[in-house]
C-alpha cells in the first residue's frame, strides 16, 4: 500500500486548493458552505433531487482538454474531487471587472429567469455545463440538461429562454479571444488556498475559459486557457492510490484493479463508493458512516468502455452518462429510458456498475440490459466469473454474488440481426422520477412468427426480472393482437407487483401489460401515424 496522504488537492475556481483534517464523509456542499463560506451553492434537499447545490467539475480529458460535468454537491464526497477542478457559481463572475456576469448569468437576468433566487445558482451551473458542452442545444436538450434542477417560482419558461440565449451568445468569446497568451502566466502555487486570494494569472486563464462557449472551444485564446488549466490539473494527478485519513476515517482511492481487489479482500467491511448517488443518502439521511471508504472512481480500467465488433464491455465505474452514450450508438431505441433516467448530474456521477450492483427493483438500467442478454463480470481477488445479468438477482436485496464478490464490468452483446427493440418507462413525472414500471422488449419476428423474445421489467417484482411466462406465450406464435392479448394475460403469472406511494400493484400490472400492447402497436406499419407516445 502507498503512503498515507494527509490532504486532498484540487483546483477550486481555478486556484490550487488543499484540504486536510476534514472528515472524508464531508460533502462538497458542506465544505463549500461551512468551511469556505462560499454560500452561493445551496442545499435544497440533500439527496440530489432538487439541484440547488449543482456545481461543475472539470476533469482532464486526454492531455490538455477538459471535460465539464454538473454534479450534485450535496451527495458528492469531497475526497472524490481530488485531482479535479471544481467550479462554483462564485467563479463565473468573480473574475470579471466590476462583477461582470457570465453570459449564462446575464441571460438569466435579461430573461427574468430568477424569482426567489434560491434555485438559481444551481440552474446557472447546469446551464454553464451545457454552455461548455453543447453548441446551440435544442429546447429538448436544454430541458434534459436542467431536468435535475427544480424551480418552484418561475415555471421554467424564462430559464429555457435564458439557456437558448446564453448558449447562442458569442459576445464574451469574441472579447476574450483577443487576449494574448502572455497574459497567462504559469502558476502552480499550492499555498494560495484561500478561494478569494487568487493571482491575476489564474483569473485571466480561468476567466477566459469559463466565458468561452462550446462553439468557440478551439479559438486560440480558449485553447491556451484550457491548456493552462489542464496543466495545473495534470500537476495534481497521482500515480498511486490516495489514502486519505482524518477524523478516524479513511478514504482510499486506488488506481488499479488489482489494488482495489486486494483492498476489498483486506477491508471487507468497507463501503465501496462509486458515483455516491446512493451512498450520499446513507450519509445525509440515514446518518451512517464507515471507517473506510473504497472509491472506484479513479481506477482507469474500471471506467473504460470497450467496443469490439458491436459488443460493449462497460467498466463498472463508467458513468451512466458515458455508458448510455455508448449504448445509444448500438441500441438507439433505449434512449427513451436513458433520457428519463434520473438527471444529468446524477448520470454524470452515478455509474452503470453501481446501478447493477445495487440491484434495486426500480433500477432502470437492468430491464434493458437483461433484455439485450447482457452479462455481468464478477470478481473476487484474482477470480473472475461471468454470469447472465438476470441470474445475479435472486430476490429483493438478495443476489447470487458471493460475499466479497464485486461487479467489475457489464457486457452487452452485439446487436442481433432483425431484432426489434423497445424500452418504456413510466412514472408520476416525466423527468427525474423513479419508475412505476420500466420495461424493455427485444423480439425477432420471422415471417410473421415470433422466433425469439426477451422481455424484462422493473418495478413489478422484488428484483428486475424477465417475464418468462410472457415470453413463452409469444415465442413460436404468430405476431398478432390475439397473441399479444394472451401474453398480457400470461404476464399475471410472472409478476406480483407491490403497492406503494408511487403506484398501486394493480396499476403496475396493467401498465406492464400495456407496454407489451404498445410494442405491438408500434411494430405495425401504421405505427408512425398513431403518435403512440406522448413523450
Amino acid at each position: 500500500m502507498n503512503a498515507v496522504s494527509t490532504s486532498i488537492k484540487f483546483l477550486l475556481n481555478g486556484a490550487p486548493h488543499e484540504v486536510a483534517d476534514l472528515d472524508p464523509h464531508t460533502s462538497v456542499l458542506s465544505y463549500l458552505r461551512e468551511h469556505l463560506f462560499l454560500t452561493g451553492t445551496k442545499e435544497g434537499c440533500a439527496e440530489g433531487d432538487c439541484g440547488a447545490c449543482t456545481v461543475a467539475i472539470a476533469e482532464l480529458d486526454g492531455v490538455d482538454r477538459l471535460r465539464v460535468m454538473p454534479i450534485n454537491a450535496c451527495i458528492r464526497l469531497l475526497p472524490t474531487i481530488d485531482g479535479k477542478a471544481l467550479f462554483t457559481v462564485e467563479a463565473l463572475s468573480m473574475f470579471g471587472e466590476s462583477g461582470e456576469l457570465h453570459p449564462v448569468q446575464q441571460a438569466m437576468v435579461d430573461c427574468h429567469a430568477s424569482q426567489c433566487g434560491f434555485c438559481t445558482p444551481g440552474f446557472v451551473m447546469s446551464l454553464f455545463a451545457l454552455f461548455k458542452n453543447d453548441v446551440a442545444p435544442s429546447r429538448e436538450r436544454i430541458c434534459e440538461a436542467i431536468s435535475g434542477n427544480l424551480c418552484r417560482c418561475t415555471g421554467y419558461r424564462p430559464i429555457i429562454e435564458a439557456a437558448q440565449q446564453a448558449t447562442h451568445s458569442r459576445i464574451a468569446q469574441s472579447m476574450r479571444a483577443n487576449e494574448s497568451e502572455n497574459q497567462i502566466v504559469d502558476k502552480n502555487n499550492l499555498a494560495a488556498s484561500h478561494p478569494f486570494k487568487l493571482g491575476l494569472e489564474i483569473r485571466s486563464s480561468s476567466s477566459t475559459w469559463l466565458h468561452c462557449a462550446a462553439a468557440d472551444s478551439n479559438a486560440p485564446a480558449a485553447r491556451d486557457a484550457e491548456k493552462h488549466i489542464a496543466k495545473s490539473l495534470a500537476a495534481l494527478q497521482r500515480n498511486s492510490a490516495l489514502d486519505y485519513r482524518a477524523n478516524d476515517a479513511r478514504f482510499i482511492a486506488p488506481r488499479t484493479l488489482d489494488e482495489f481487489s486486494t483492498l476489498v479482500e483486506t477491508l471487507p467491511s468497507a463501503w465501496i463508493l462509486s458515483g455516491g448517488t446512493d451512498v450520499g443518502l446513507w450519509i445525509n439521511k440515514a446518518l451512517q458512516t464507515n471507517s473506510t471508504i473504497l472509491y472506484t472512481g479513479e481506477i482507469a480500467a474500471l471506467r473504460k468502455i470497450d467496443i469490439h465488433q458491436g459488443a460493449l464491455t462497460i467498466g463498472a465505474a463508467a458513468s451512466l452518462e458515458d455508458a448510455f452514450r455508448a449504448m445509444n450508438q448500438h441500441y438507439p431505441e433505449l434512449a427513451h429510458v436513458w433520457t428519463r433516467f434520473a438527471s444529468w448530474p446524477i448520470r454524470a456521477s452515478g455509474t452503470l456498475g453501481g446501478n447493477v450492483a445495487n440491484g434495486s427493483p426500480i433500477g432502470d438500467s437492468m430491464p434493458a440490459l437483461i433484455t439485450l442478454g447482457a452479462e455481468v463480470v464478477l470478481r473476487k481477488g484474482a477470480k473472475q466469473r461471468t454470469i447472465p445479468l438476470e441470474s445475479l438477482y435472486i430476490d429483493y436485496k438478495k443476489q447470487s454474488r458471493e460475499p466479497g464478490e464485486w461487479v467489475e464490468a457489464i457486457r452487452v452483446p452485439a446487436r442481433a440481426e432483425g431484432m426489434q427493440i423497445a424500452s418504456y418507462k413510466n412514472s408520476k413525472r416525466n423527468e427525474q422520477d423513479i419508475s412505476a414500471v420500466c420495461a424493455a422488449i427485444a423480439m425477432t419476428i420471422e415471417d410473421g412468427v415470433v422466433t425469439k423474445a426477451r422481455i424484462a421489467y422493473g418495478g413489478v417484482a422484488g428484483i428486475p426480472k424477465r417475464a418468462a411466462n410472457t415470453e413463452a406465450a409469444v415465442i413460436g406464435k404468430p405476431w398478432n393482437e390475439t397473441t399479444v392479448r394472451a401474453a398480457m394475460q400470461a404476464m399475471t403469472n410472472d409478476f406480483t407487483p407491490m403497492n406503494d406511494m408511487r403506484a398501486s400493484a394493480e396499476y403496475r400490472m396493467q401498465v406492464a401489460q400495456n407496454h407489451l400492447l404498445r410494442f405491438w402497436h408500434e411494430s405495425q406499419d401504421e405505427a408512425a401515424s398513431l403518435e403512440a407516445r406522448v413523450f
Binding site: E47, K428, A436, V511, L530
Partner: protein, 790 residues
C-alpha cells in the same frame, strides 16, 4: 367601456424590453419591465438567505425530535441518550419553556413542543442543541418517547364519522336549492377529491436566534410574517415584544408555507438561545420539513345541481369538506375563502353549501397560494363541467351562459356587488386568440382515429377576490428616508419571497421622485423599523405596501413643497421631480437629490416619512357570511390542450394560452413571471404532486424523490401569455391589480383538458371519475371507468 382589446400587449410576439433600454427617457419607474432587484445577486450566488448570514462566533445548531405516533398520550420523554451524544450542549422540552407553550395563526391552540399529548407524526417534542448541525441531528434520533397510542383520525371520512370538527358545519343557504333541484328538468350529481399540496419552497425552514443584552432576542427567520415571529419569540420566552427584533431580507420561496409555519422554528431557536445564551440556528432537513410543516388543505366534495336545457345553473347543493389537521391554524379563513369562491364568475340563484372543517391527526393544514379559493373554485368548475356534459354543450358555452351579467345577476352569493366585471370579454378574446373552436374540432377528429393517444382541451376562467377577509389585516406601512447624499432607503411591511415586491416598491419611489428604481435601496423587513405588520400574503403585498410607499412619498414631498417653492421660485404645483433632479415646470433652477437633501437638512426639514394605508370600504361578517370582503376582483382565463396516453395514463400539456388581468401593470416582466410560475405550480398541484399518508398517519412522500413538482420538460413549448390591458376600476396602487395567487387557478384548464380527453370515451356526455391530482394512475383509472360506462 373603452375597447381594451386594441391596447392589449401581445407579449409572446413582442418580448418585454430588456432593462438596458430605459422606456421613458429616465430611470426605471412604474410600468417598466425592470429586472428583479436581486437578479444580479441571484445569478451570481451573492444573494444572502438566512442560512448564508455569517454565523456569530459560537453559534450552536439545533435539531428537532418529533413524534413517531399520530395520536396518543405522551407519558414520558427520555433524553439521557441524547445528552450523552458527542458535542451535544442541551436538550429542551415543554418543561423548559419560561413563557407560554401555545401559539397559532389566529386561535392559539398549538404547542411549540408537545406536552401531554401527541397529535400527528412529526409533532415536535424536544429541541436538541449541539456544536454542529450533524451532531444535533444524530442526537435527536436518540430521543425516546413513551407514548400510549390511540387510534388516529386521519381522513375526512374518519373525522366526519367521529364528529372531529374544528366547529359545527358552516351552512350557507340562498334561495330554495332543494326545491329547485326537485323540480329541475336537468340535474346532475357529482363528487371529487382534490388532494393536498406541499409548498416545496426551495429554501427549507430556517431560523437563527441571537441573544442580546438584557434578555433581548434577535431572530432572523425565513418568513412571510416577521411580526408573528416576534410575537411567538416573546410568547415562548415570556418577554415583551419590545425585547425582540425579527428580520428577514429575502425568502427562498414562501407560497404561504412561511406565514405561520416558521413560528415554531423561530420560537424554538429562541428558546435554545435563551437557555444556552449562544446564537442558535435551526435549519430543518428537507424530510423533517415535509413531516413537520402544514400543507394545502385537501378537500372532498359532492353536490347535486340543477340547470335548464342550456346549462344555466339553477341550483347548487354542495357539501365541501376539508382536512385541517391537528390544529386550527388558518383553517377557518381558508374555508371561508373557499366558500366565497364557489362562484368563480358564475351567478348562483339557489345555493346551499355545507362545509365541514375536519380535525385530523395530520400536519396542520395551512396557508398556500390561493388560500382555499382553488378548492372552492374547483368545486363549481367541476359542477359546470358536469352540467355541460349533461346537456350536451361545449363546457365553454355553459361557462359563458353562467357568468355574472345583466341577465343572470350581478351580486355574489355573499352579497357583494360585482363591479368592473370584464371576465366575459376576456374569455371571448381568449377563445379567438387561442383558436379554441377549430382546435376543439381537430381534437374530436383525432380522438375518433387514434386508439392510443386521446386529446382534450379546456378553457377555464378565474375570478379572485383581492383582500384579506379579515378586514383589519388590509393595511400597509412604509418608511422612506432620503440621505444627505441624495440616496433613498426604503423599508415597508412586505417581505420579498421572489414575487418582485421590492422592485415594485422601488419603482413607486422612482416614479414619485424621478429617480432610477434600481438606485433605491430596499432594506430587510424588520420589526423594529415598522411594527405590528400583517403577513405578506393574500396577494396583497404590492397593493397594501405600494399605497403606503406612495403615501410616504407624498408626505415627504408635501413637507418639502413650501420650502422648495421658495428655493425654486415657483408655485408648489409646479415642482417637478424627474431625471434625478427637482426643478420647476418653467424654471431654470434645479437641485440634484444630493443638493436637495443637504439643503433641506440645513433648513431643518426631516427627510424621513412614514406612510400608511388601509383598504377602504371593505367589511366581512363571518356569521351571516356576507359583506364586501374583496376590494376588487382579479380575472384571468387559460386554454390548455393535452395529449393523454391511454396505456399508461401519462399526459403531456401541448399548448397553453393565457390572458390575465393585472390592471395597469406595475412591472410587466415581474407580473408575467407570477402568471407563468403560478400556472406551473397549479399544474403540479393538479397533476403530479401527490401526498400520500399511510394507515398510521405517516407521510410517505417526504422528499423530492417521492414528491414530484413539475420540471422544465413539463412546461409546454407553446406557452402564450398576454396581459389584459385595462386599468383597475378602483383606486389601487397606480391602478394595478394583485397577481400573486390568481394565476395558480389558471391551471384548472390542464385538469379539465385531461378530463375532456377522458370524456371522449363517452362522446363527451359524462364527467369522468377523475380525482386531483390527476396522476397517471388516477387518469388510467378514470379512463377504465369511462370505458365501462360507455
Amino acid at each position: 367601456m373603452n375597447s381594451p382589446i386594441k391596447n392589449t400587449r401581445k407579449m409572446q410576439e413582442s418580448p418585454i424590453p430588456t432593462p438596458t433600454l430605459p422606456l421613458k427617457g429616465r430611470g426605471f419607474a412604474v410600468g417598466d419591465a425592470v429586472a428583479h432587484d436581486s437578479a444580479h445577486l441571484h445569478v451570481s450566488g451573492r444573494a444572502t438567505y438566512a442560512d448564508d448570514v455569517r454565523e456569530p462566533r459560537g453559534t450552536l445548531h439545533a435539531a428537532i425530535a418529533y413524534s413517531p405516533i399520530a395520536r396518543g398520550v405522551l407519558r414520558a420523554v427520555d433524553l439521557v441518550d441524547v445528552l450523552a451524544m458527542k458535542d451535544v450542549v442541551g436538550a429542551f422540552t415543554a418543561k423548559d419553556i419560561p413563557g407560554k407553550n401555545c401559539y397559532g395563526a389566529i386561535t392559539h391552540d398549538e404547542p411549540f413542543l408537545a406536552e401531554d399529548r401527541v397529535e400527528f407524526v412529526g409533532q415536535p417534542i424536544a429541541i436538541i442543541v449541539a456544536k454542529t448541525r450533524d451532531a444535533a441531528r444524530r442526537a435527536a434520533r436518540k430521543a425516546k418517547f413513551d407514548i400510549a397510542d390511540e387510534t388516529p383520525i386521519l381522513t375526512i371520512n374518519d373525522a366526519i364519522a367521529a364528529n372531529s370538527l374544528l366547529k359545527p358545519p358552516t351552512i350557507i343557504e340562498r334561495g330554495v336549492p332543494k326545491e329547485a333541484i326537485a323540480r329541475a328538468t336537468h340535474s346532475v350529481r357529482g363528487e371529487c377529491e382534490i388532494g393536498a399540496q406541499e409548498h416545496f419552497y426551495l429554501e427549507g425552514q430556517i431560523a437563527l436566534a441571537i441573544p442580546h443584552e438584557d434578555g433581548q432576542m434577535q431572530v432572523i427567520v425565513s418568513t412571510q410574517h416577521p411580526t408573528e415571529m416576534q410575537q411567538v419569540t416573546a410568547t415562548i420566552l415570556g418577554i415583551g415584544w419590545n425585547d425582540v427584533v425579527s428580520e428577514v431580507r429575502r425568502l427562498g420561496g414562501g407560497f404561504g408555507g412561511k406565514e405561520v409555519q416558521p413560528a415554531q422554528f423561530a420560537a424554538l431557536a429562541a428558546l435554545a438561545a435563551h437557555h444556552t445564551q449562544c446564537p442558535v440556528k435551526l435549519r430543518l432537513d428537507r424530510d423533517d420539513d415535509f413531516l413537520i410543516t402544514g400543507k394545502r388543505h385537501d378537500f372532498a366534495f359532492h353536490y347535486d345541481a340543477a340547470s335548464d336545457a342550456n346549462g344555466r345553473l339553477t341550483a347548487f347543493d354542495l357539501t365541501l369538506s376539508s382536512r385541517c389537521g391537528f390544529s386550527t391554524d388558518y383553517s377557518h379563513q381558508v374555508n371561508d375563502r373557499a366558500l366565497c369562491h364557489i362562484d368563480n364568475g358564475y351567478h348562483h340563484t339557489n345555493l346551499k353549501v355545507t362545509n365541514y372543517r375536519c380535525r385530523t391527526n395530520t400536519q396542520s393544514a395551512t396557508a398556500f397560494r390561493g388560500f382555499g379559493a382553488p378548492q372552492g373554485m374547483f368545486a363549481i368548475e367541476h359542477c359546470i363541467e358536469s352540467i355541460a356534459r349533461n346537456v350536451g354543450r361545449d363546457p365553454l358555452d355553459v361557462r359563458k351562459a353562467n357568468f355574472y351579467g345583466e341577465k343572470t345577476g350581478l351580486t355574489t352569493h355573499y352579497g357583494q356587488a360585482v363591479e368592473g366585471f370584464w371576465l366575459p370579454q376576456m374569455v371571448e378574446r381568449l377563445e379567438q386568440t387561442s383558436d379554441y373552436r377549430a382546435r376543439r374540432a381537430a381534437i374530436t377528429t383525432h380522438n375518433a382515429r387514434n386508439p392510443i393517444i386521446r386529446k382534450g382541451i379546456s378553457l377555464t376562467p378565474v375570478m379572485f377576490g383581492v383582500s384579506f377577509n379579515a378586514s383589519f389585516l388590509n393595511r400597509g406601512s412604509a418608511l422612506l428616508s432620503l440621505y444627505l447624499d441624495g440616496t433613498f432607503v426604503l423599508n415597508h411591511a412586505g417581505t420579498e419571497m421572489g414575487q418582485g415586491l421590492f422592485i415594485k416598491m422601488q419603482q413607486i419611489v422612482a416614479e414619485a421622485f424621478g429617480v432610477d428604481a434600481r438606485k433605491v435601496r430596499s432594506t430587510t423587513t424588520n420589526t423594529s423599523k415598522l411594527p405590528n405588520t400583517p403577513p405578506t400574503a393574500a396577494s396583497s403585498g404590492a397593493d397594501l405596501n405600494g399605497m403606503a410607499v406612495l403615501d410616504a412619498c407624498n408626505i415627504l414631498k408635501a413637507r418639502l413643497a413650501p420650502w422648495l417653492s421658495k428655493v425654486l421660485q415657483c408655485e408648489a404645483n409646479d415642482i417637478e421631480f424627474c431625471d434625478g433632479v427637482v426643478t420647476s415646470k418653467h424654471g431654470v433652477i434645479f437641485l440634484t437629490m444630493q443638493e436637495l437633501a443637504t439643503r433641506a437638512t440645513f433648513a431643518k426639514i426631516p427627510l424621513t416619512a412614514q406612510g400608511f394605508y388601509y383598504t377602504p370600504g371593505i367589511q366581512w361578517n363571518g356569521e351571516t357570511f356576507s359583506g364586501k370582503p374583496a376590494y376588487y376582483f382579479a380575472y384571468g382565463a387559460a386554454v390548455s390542450e393535452v395529449a393523454v396516453d391511454t396505456l399508461t395514463g401519462e399526459h403531456k400539456v401541448t399548448r397553453v394560452d393565457i390572458l390575465h388581468d393585472v390592471g395597469k401593470s406595475l412591472n410587466p416582466a415581474i407580473d408575467r413571471g407570477q402568471i407563468e410560475g403560478g400556472f406551473v405550480q397549479g399544474m403540479g398541484y393538479l397533476t403530479s404532486e401527490e401526498l400520500v399518508w399511510d394507515g398510521k398517519g405517516r407521510l410517505r412522500t417526504h422528499a423530492p424523490s417521492t414528491y414530484k413538482i413539475p420540471t422544465a420538460a413539463d412546461v409546454p413549448e407553446v406557452f402564450n401569455v398576454e396581459l389584459w390591458d385595462q386599468d383597475n376600476h378602483v383606486e389601487s396602487i397606480h391602478r394595478s391589480k394583485a397577481v400573486g395567487e390568481p394565476p395558480l387557478m389558471l391551471a384548472f384548464s390542464v385538469w379539465f383538458a385531461i378530463a375532456d380527453a377522458i370524456s371522449s370515451y363517452t362522446d363527451s356526455r359524462a364527467m369522468p371519475k377523475l380525482v386531483a391530482p390527476a396522476t397517471p394512475e388516477a387518469i388510467l383509472r378514470a379512463m377504465h371507468a369511462a370505458r365501462a360506462a360507455r
